[in-house]
């Protein structure tokens, strides 16, 4: 049923696919972090003509499957707009756009947690809009959200098997190719599951530790 020799044969191939999956997750995460902030800021804008369309678009992207969005990137973009992307970069773009809508919510919660007195102090100090955001609001709103962002990075890493649907040869695709060559799916798919578990569980614990440390620091600042 379970053949260790076969495991030895396919494990190196699977391990070689980790950088592809991790790379796609990291690049997608970077994009999501970059896009998330302007989305959050636009949704806060007092100008309805900016906030309403951005909010609607973000909700739409958030409520529809990543898989379908990936298909749009690889099938519709080249045909209707003449933009051709490699599967890997289409995957990064898809992951990045999809999760930027989640990260914009993370930014929003961080911004809303900044006490009102901080805004008032910035006004009292005659700070302009740019200085208020860059010196007062963002430096206080982003660090507390780091654990949540870390969790999204892990979530995105676990989402990378979806990229196999657009022929990115990540972990699951590698396992599928190996499995279909020998009709032994048990070892291949079990190993993929184990690799994900072994990589994501310790990362989740790390994020939990970071969260506790941040809470302790917050407690200290609060009691000062």
């Amino acid at each position: 049923m379970w053949k260790w020799e076969y495991v030895e044969k396919i494990l190196p191939k699977l391990l070689e696919a980790i950088p592809v999956a991790a790379g796609a997750a990291l690049a997608g995460f970077a994009l999501a972090v970059l896009l998330g902030l302007p989305i959050a800021l636009a949704r806060r804008s007092r100008n309805r003509w900016l906030s309403a369309p951005v909010a609607a678009a973000a909700e739409f992207v958030r409520s529809t499957p990543l898989l379908v969005q990936l298909f749009v990137l690889v099938f519709v973009l080249p045909q209707s707009f003449g933009i051709r992307l490699s599967p890997f970069w289409a995957g990064v773009l898809g992951l990045g756009i999809h999760y930027s809508t989640y990260l914009s919510e993370v930014y929003r919660s961080g911004i809303e947690a900044v006490p009102k007195g901080q805004w008032e102090a910035a006004i009292a100090l005659n700070f302009g809009k740019w200085r208020t955001w860059s010196r007062i609001v963002l430096p206080q709103s982003v660090p507390p959200t780091l654990p949540v962002m870390g969790n999204y990075l892990i979530t995105m890493f676990k989402e990378t098997p979806t990229l196999s649907a657009i022929t990115v040869v990540e972990l699951l695709m590698t396992a599928k190719i190996a499995g279909s060559a020998s009709f032994r799916y048990v070892e291949a798919f079990t190993l993929v599951g184990l690799i994900f578990l072994l990589l994501s569980y310790p990362s989740a614990l790390l994020v939990r530790m970071l969260e506790k440390r941040l809470q302790r620091r917050e407690g200290r600042i609060g009691s000062r």
């Binding site: 499957p65 196999s164 699951l172 599951g193 994900f196």
Partner: protein
Amino acid sequence: MDGLHLELLPPLLKGFKTTLMLTALSIVAALAFAMLAGLARMSRRVWLRWPAAAYVEVFRGTSLLVQLFWIYFALPMLLDIQLSAMTAAVLALSLNYGAYGSEVVRSSISAVPKGQTEAAIALNMTPSQRLRLIILPQAWRMMLPGFGNLQIELLKGTSLVYLITLADVTYQAMMLRTYDLSSTAAIFVWLLVLYFAAACALTLLVRLAERRAAAGRS
């Protein structure tokens, strides 16, 4: 009405029915898994707590798609059984989102004030009465927003069943595309609109449930 490509709708709606059924079945099963695992993780008995914790960590620590492939391709080989794509899909979706849901159950139950449990004990209620009549009705209200978000995630997750060739709405869209490549854009626009409509309907249902659960409270 040529620009709208309405002729695409009937085949898409056929698959959409499968998607909705899959979503509904999986939500019900996921709710059951979430409740069972959430309660088991809070139990004082180690033989309940540990397996539940292992279940939750394994399903939250791996990908939904990997679980779907494992259940559909590997599990039948291991146990020498036949699994239909629909059964495999419901199992994978409900086990996965049940694991996430159990955390919602756990945090909501812990958020019920301790005095409620103490009052129930003082009133000489049995542990099952305490849970059924005092704790769960109060925790349920707190679970609803979390469950609402998970429902949308589950709905989106159903699209992955296309990859085990279950004829859901995504599968139908891909089939339509092979017949008529020129209407690719229209097919995917309709597909996205259908998913968005289903997500809006689910959100509305949860809102209604929230309002009902909040009835008679400030």
